[in-house]
Symmetry: D2
Subunit: 464 residues, 4 copies
Amino acid sequence: MTKLWGGRFEKPTDELMERFNASIGFDVRLYRADIAGSIAYARALERAGLLTPEECQTIVAGLEQVRAEFDQGRFVVQPGDEDIHTAVERRLHELIGPLAGKLHTGRSRNDQVATDTRLYLLWEIDRLQESLTDLQQAIVEKAEEGLGEPGHEVIMPGYTHLQPAQPVLFSHWLLSYFWMFQRDGERLAGLRERVATLPLGSGALAGNPFGVDREFLAQELGFARLAENSMDAVSDRDFIVEFLAWAALLQMHLSRLAEDLILFSSPGYGFVTIDEAYATGSSLMPQKRNPDSLELVRGKTGRVYGHLMGLLTTMKGLPSTYNKDLQEDKEPLFDVVDTLAMELPIMAGVVRTLVIHPQRMAAALDDSLLATDLADELVRQGVPFREAHRLVGQVVRRAGELGVSLCDLPLAEYRTISEHFGPSLYQALDFQRSVERRSGRGGTAPQAVREQIKRAKLAQMGQL
Amino acid sequence: MTKLWGGRFEKPTDELMERFNASIGFDVRLYRADIAGSIAYARALERAGLLTPEECQTIVAGLEQVRAEFDQGRFVVQPGDEDIHTAVERRLHELIGPLAGKLHTGRSRNDQVATDTRLYLLWEIDRLQESLTDLQQAIVEKAEEGLGEPGHEVIMPGYTHLQPAQPVLFSHWLLSYFWMFQRDGERLAGLRERVATLPLGSGALAGNPFGVDREFLAQELGFARLAENSMDAVSDRDFIVEFLAWAALLQMHLSRLAEDLILFSSPGYGFVTIDEAYATGSSLMPQKRNPDSLELVRGKTGRVYGHLMGLLTTMKGLPSTYNKDLQEDKEPLFDVVDTLAMELPIMAGVVRTLVIHPQRMAAALDDSLLATDLADELVRQGVPFREAHRLVGQVVRRAGELGVSLCDLPLAEYRTISEHFGPSLYQALDFQRSVERRSGRGGTAPQAVREQIKRAKLAQMGQL
Amino acid sequence: MTKLWGGRFEKPTDELMERFNASIGFDVRLYRADIAGSIAYARALERAGLLTPEECQTIVAGLEQVRAEFDQGRFVVQPGDEDIHTAVERRLHELIGPLAGKLHTGRSRNDQVATDTRLYLLWEIDRLQESLTDLQQAIVEKAEEGLGEPGHEVIMPGYTHLQPAQPVLFSHWLLSYFWMFQRDGERLAGLRERVATLPLGSGALAGNPFGVDREFLAQELGFARLAENSMDAVSDRDFIVEFLAWAALLQMHLSRLAEDLILFSSPGYGFVTIDEAYATGSSLMPQKRNPDSLELVRGKTGRVYGHLMGLLTTMKGLPSTYNKDLQEDKEPLFDVVDTLAMELPIMAGVVRTLVIHPQRMAAALDDSLLATDLADELVRQGVPFREAHRLVGQVVRRAGELGVSLCDLPLAEYRTISEHFGPSLYQALDFQRSVERRSGRGGTAPQAVREQIKRAKLAQMGQL
Amino acid sequence: MTKLWGGRFEKPTDELMERFNASIGFDVRLYRADIAGSIAYARALERAGLLTPEECQTIVAGLEQVRAEFDQGRFVVQPGDEDIHTAVERRLHELIGPLAGKLHTGRSRNDQVATDTRLYLLWEIDRLQESLTDLQQAIVEKAEEGLGEPGHEVIMPGYTHLQPAQPVLFSHWLLSYFWMFQRDGERLAGLRERVATLPLGSGALAGNPFGVDREFLAQELGFARLAENSMDAVSDRDFIVEFLAWAALLQMHLSRLAEDLILFSSPGYGFVTIDEAYATGSSLMPQKRNPDSLELVRGKTGRVYGHLMGLLTTMKGLPSTYNKDLQEDKEPLFDVVDTLAMELPIMAGVVRTLVIHPQRMAAALDDSLLATDLADELVRQGVPFREAHRLVGQVVRRAGELGVSLCDLPLAEYRTISEHFGPSLYQALDFQRSVERRSGRGGTAPQAVREQIKRAKLAQMGQL
C-alpha cells in the first residue's frame, strides 16, 4: 500500500529512515484499541451523515475481520505498514475496497493514536489494579498467619538505620507494605479518571469540521470526559507521564519490600525463607539458592525510573501540538506495563510462599531493644523524658562496659546512675509487654495490629 | 546544649561528620511547622495525663516565644543545633528549664520530622494552588483580549512538527495551556489529600506507648487521616515524591509554553512581544532584548526533573522504616517549592503583559494551510477522504512546480488532477471559513473557542 | 536441557518466574561474543592441562558449529535455555556430548557474562566511532560547500537566546557541531580503554583455582588489561554506565543540531530545506512535509537519558559482587547501541542532503545585528567599551522610536547621542566587514573559518 | 551601578524577575576565577594595544584589591549586582573609575562565565583527586592491617546475591573498592584535559574583533587548549555534564561501599564496627548507634544522580550558542563538588577507624561455602565440571536432609551419590586451602592479595 501521506512527495524516503520512522514494531499491540476506535468513529461518521448505514456496516464488518485476523495471529504486517493505523487501513482496503478510504474523514493519526493509547492504558490499568489488590491480599493473609498465638505473638527486632531499634510484631512489619500499596491503588484510581479523557474528534490540531459527535464517541469507547481543546488534545501525554510516575512510586515500594526480604532471608538474619519456586542456583557454586526474583524486582526499579525520566525528557520544551518526538511515548509505556504485570504476581507468590522462622526472630531479640521502655518507665515516675533518655544511655554504656545485658545489670549499678530506678525496672524489660504498650492506632501492639488487619480488609473493599 | 542522643557515646563525633550530619542549614525553615506540631503534641500529652495543665501551658507559651524569636529574626542558631527539632528544644530548655525535656515523651524525631514536613507542604500547596489559578486567569484574560472582532478573529498558523498545519485562533492556541494547568490543579488537589495523613504518634517506628490521642493531634493540626501503620509512617516519603512528580509535569507544561513564546517572539515569527519587564539585555551587544524569563523557566525544568529523580533514587531499595538517607528529602522539596513560587507569577506576568501582533500572524498565513479544507471539499462531493488527500497532495505539488499559491492555481490545472474539482473549490480556500468549520467541542471555531472560555471559567470555579 | 544449577533444588521454578528470570530474549545477541569467549577459555583450559589437545579441538569445533548455526539463523532456542550461556552449552552438549561439561571448569556465568558484554561493546564502539566520523565528515563537506565565494561568503544571523545577535558564516554555525562530535569521539576512545579490561578468570567472585592464564585470555580476546580484583571484576558495570553517559552527551549534541535544523527549516526562518528522503507527510493534511527524522532524533534523547538514569539507579546501593539486579544492564545497552546506530547515519544523510538558502539568510540580516560593531567603532576611538555599549543602546532605542534602521539613522541623530560618532560609523555597518573582523582562532571571519576547516580535517586524522 | 546592558531599555525589569534572573546568590563563589580571568584578559588587551601599560596596571591592581576584599569577607554585594561579573566590574569602577569600562572590550559574559567555571572546576578537580587518593590510601592501609598472619589470614564469607558464596579474604573484599576508585581517578584525569579548553576570546558567539591573543590567555590561565569554534565555545557545557557523570559513577561506588559497611556492621553480620565518631544516636532510643555517615553517603547518591539528570535535561534540545537556560549549570556543579568534598574524607575516616572482627567472620563461615571446592576436587579426578556440579548439588541436598554439614556427612553418603568421591574429599573442605587455590592474578589467595596490594601501591604512584 502507498503511504497515507505521499501525494505531494517527489522522492522516496531513505531506506534507513523508513525503519527509523516506523512504529509498527511496537504499536502493533494497540490493534484492539485502534480497531475499537475506528468502529466507534465509523458509527459517528454515519450519525454525521458522512457514511450511509450500509457503508458503516461494511466498514465495521471489515474492521471486525481485521481484528479477528490479529486475534488469531493471521495478520501479516507488510513492508509499507509504517504504523498500526496504516496497517489496519491497508488491510481494510484490501477487504472492502476504496470505501475504506472514507474512514479517515476528519480524523488524523494525531487524535487517533492518542485515543488508541488511552484506551489501551485504561484496559491495562484495570488489570494492574487487580494484580495489586491480589498482592495486598497475599500480605494480609501472611500477616494473619504470622501473628502467632494471642499473648505469644511472633516478635522480631524492628530496625531503624538497619540497627535494632524496638521489638515489633512480624505482622506489623509486613503490613507496613500493605499501606504503601494501598496508596498506590488510590493513586491509580485517581489517575484513571484523567486517562479517560477523549481526544478523538480533535483532528490534526484544529478540531473536526464534519460535525462528528464527540459525546457519542466518548460513550461508545467508555471515556468519561472530552478533551476541551483540540491543540492540547493531540499532544497531551500527561496521562502516560502520570502513569509512569505512579509506576515509579509502586516500583520504589516493591524495591524496599524486595530489599527487606533479601536481607531477612540472608543467613545473618534468617527470619524467612524464600520458596525455591522463586529462587535460582549458580552455574559454579552447587550450594547456592539465590533470591533472584527479589533481586530482579529491585533491579527493575532502574528500568521504571528510567522510562519516567526518559518521557519527561522527551516532552521537555516541545513546541505545542503534535511533534514526532511523541512517538517515543509508547515503548516506555508498554515496557512498564509488562514489567509490572510480571512483578506484581511474582511478589504475591513470594509473599504467599514465604516461610517464617519465629525462633530466628526470637533469637535476634536483644534486651537493648528495650532501652526505650526503660526510659519510659522513668517517665512514668516523673522523670522528664529527655533526662530519662540520658540516664538510660548511661545504663547502656555501663552494661556494655561490664559485658552484660540490661536484664543482668544489677540494681545497684542502675541506682548508681539514678535513684529513680527501682526493682520494677526489670518488668519493663519484657518484649511482649513492650509491644503491648504500643496500643494506639497504627502501633505494634497485638490488639492494634489485629485492628489494623480489619482496617486493611475494609480498605480492600473500599470501605475505609 | 548536648545532643539529644549522646548518653551512650564515649567519643565525640568527628568534626567534619558533625557538619555532614547537620540539617539545620536547611530544615530551619520548618520552624513554624515544628512548633505547631510541638504545641499540638504538648496538648495531647496533657490529655494523656503526662503533663499537668500548668506544665502544658508553660511549654506552649515557651514554644510561642521561640516562634516569635524566629519570626522576628532574633533566633540564633547554636553550634550544637544539629536540626530544627534540637534547636527548638534547646531554646525551649533555656526558656523554661528541664520541663522542656517532657515534650519529647513518646515522640521520636522520626515521626516529628515527617509531621513537620507534611504540615509545611500543606501550607505551600495552598499557596501554589493560588499562583497556578492566577496563571490560568492570566491566560483566560489574554485569550479573551486576543479573540478579535466577531467574524474577524485573530487567526494564526497552527503548527505541527513546527511546520504550518492549519489556521487556528490565537486564543485557541493560548487556551491549550489553560487545560494543561487545569490538569495540574486537579492533580495537586488530589495529592493534597495524601499529604494530609498524620504520622505523629508513631514514635521511632513501633507506635506510642503513652496513649496519646492521634485523632486529637490530627484535628489540631488540620490533618485529614491517620497513618495506619507506625513503621510505614516514619519512612513514608510518597507525599514528597508525588509532589515532585506533580511539579515535574507542571514544569514540563511551563517549558512548552516558554518554548512557544520564545519561538513566537523570535523575529522569524514575530507574533508576540515579551514585555521589557521580563527581558534582559547583553553585556556585549547593545541591541539585544532577550526573553530570559522564559529561558530560565525552560531551563529550570532540569532542576525539577533532577530533584524528582534524585529522591526516587534515594528511596530505591531502602530497608524499611527510618534510615538517615531520608534526610535527603528536604532540600529537593524546598528547592522545587521555591522554584515554582517564582515561576508561576513570572509566567502570569509574561502572559498578562504579552503584546499580540495580529498582522504578523496574518502575514504568516499561507494558503497551503488550507489544503485539508480543499480535501474536505472533495469529501463533501463524495470522494473518499483517502483519495481526496492524494489528489490534493498532487495539487500542492503542481502548485509548487508552477510557483503559485493554491488560490492562484487555475481551475484547469485542478481539473487535470481530478474532475471533482469545480469553481466552488476557491471558496474552501478561506481562512475565516476554515476555522469556522471546526465548530465541535474543543475545535478552533470562534463560537467553539468562546464556549471554551466559558468552560474554562467554570473550571476555575470548580463547576465543570 | 536441565538447568546449569538445579542439583540441590527439590521444587521446580514457578512458571512465571521462569519467564521473569530468563534473559535469552535479549542476551541472545551476545552469541558471537559468548562463543569467542568460550573458545579462548577452552584454549586456556588446555594450556592449564585441564583439557587434552583433542578435547580442546573438539570443543572448539563444536563451538564453531554452534556459531555457524546462529549466523545462518538455524539455531533454535529451547524452552530451558534461560540465557545465551545455557543455550550455547546445551547445544554444544548435544553436538559433542558430556565433554561439553568440561568447558565451564573454574568459570562462572558471572565472569562469563561480563566478558561477553565487554567484547560485544568493544566491537560496537568501533562501529559507532566510524559512524560518528562519517557524520563529522558530512559536516565538513557541507561547511565547505556552504562557504560561498571569497569576499561574498554565506552570512546568516547568529542567534543567542534565539534573538539575532551578530552576523556569522553559515559554515561557522555548522562547524560548531563538528567540535561537539569531536569531543564525543575523543571521549569514546578514552572509555574504550576501560571497556577492554578482562574479567574472565575471576570465577563467581573469588578467582580461578585451576591456574588459568588470564594474560593469554586477554591476548586471545583483544583485551588490553586484566581486572585486578575478582570481586570487583564480576560486578563492575562502570563500562556500561560510562558508555551510556557518553551516549547521553552525544545524544544531547544530536538533539541540539536537530533543534537548530527544525527551526532553520521552519518557514519563519527558511534557511535550509530538509530533503524529502528524511521528511514525511500527514495522514490528514496533504501539504505537509515534516522533519520527522530530526524530531525523532530529538525525541530519542529521552530514551538515552532514561537508560543512563535507569542503570545508575539499578547499581545504586547494591551490595558488592554479583547480584541478579545486574541482569538489567543489557537491555539499555543494546537499545542505546541500536538507537545510535540508526541516528548517526541518518543525521549524516540529513546534513549531506541539506539544501542551503543563502538569500533567505541574507534577507534575515537586520543591521541591529551590527550594534556591537558600532560600539567597537567607538572603542577604536577611545571610548571605554562599557560607555560605548550604553551609547549604542541609546542609538538602537532612538532608531526604534523613529522606525528606521541603524544605516538610515541620520548622522545628526547619532551625534545628539555622542559626538564621538562621525561619518565613518556607517562603514562599521557592513555584514561582510563585521564577520571579517572576528579573525582570531575560532572566530567567524572567513579566513578563520577556512583555517578551522583545515584543523577539523587534521582532527579527523588524529593529527590535532 | 546600572546594569551592564540597560541602554536600549525603556522600562525597568519586574522586581520578581530581577530576583529570578540574578545568579549572584550562587555564582559569587566564582570570584577568584572571575578575577583571575579578568587580570589575564586585561593583559591580553594591553598586548593588543587596547590598554596602555599604565591602564593595564591600574586595572590589575584594582582587580587584586577587589579579590582581597572578597578574600577578607569585606566585599558587600549590592542590589544591582546581578552576577559575579557585574559585581566585580561595579566594584572596580568604584575603585578606578571609567577605565574599568575598558575591561569588557570584545568580551561577553558568555565567554567570561564559561572561562570562570572551567577555571573553578580545574582547581576543584585537583582537590578532589587528592581526596580520592587519600580514600584509596585508607583502603590499602586497612587491607594490609586486615590481612592477618601468613597462613592464618582473615577469611570471611564472600557473598553473591547476599547469599554465602565462597570464602574470601577480608582484605580482598575491601580492595575491590580500591579498583573502583582507581577507575574514578583515571576518568577524572581524562576529563580534566577537556575542562582545560579555553573559551575566552569567543565573545558573545562570533569571536573577538580586536586581535586578542588567545594562546597568551590560555597560558596565563593554565589552559591546555583553545576552543576551536566560538559558537560552540560559549555554550559548551560538556565539561560540566562529564564531571557530573563522573561524580555519579564515583557516588555509585561510594553507595555500594556504604551499603556493604552498613550490612557488615549490622548485628546479623557484625564483621566490623563503625567508629563512634562517624555514628549518631536516637532522640528516642537510648541504646542506638546508627551509621548515619554511611547512610548519608548512600542517600546522597540521589542528589548527585539528580543533578546529572537535571543538567542533561536543561541542555536537551537547546538551540545552539548561549541561551539563558545555561545559567542553570552552576548550582548542580557546586553542590556536587561540595558533596564529594565532604563524602570522600568522611569515607576515608570511616575506613581508617573501622574495627575488624575476625572471629565474627570466622563464625559465619559455613562449609557449604566449600561446595565449589568439592566439585573442583571431582574435576581434578576427571569428572566434567558440569557433572561434578550436579553431583555436589545432590550432596548439599542430602546433607540438608540429614541436617549435617558437608564435613560431617559420612563418606558412604558421598559415595551413594558418586563413586568418584574418596576420603580426599574432606581435605577440600578447608577454608584456608580454598582461598589459597585462587592464586591467579586478581584472585583471593593470600599471595595474590599481597601482590594486589603491591599493584595498588604502584597504581597510586601512577606506575601501573
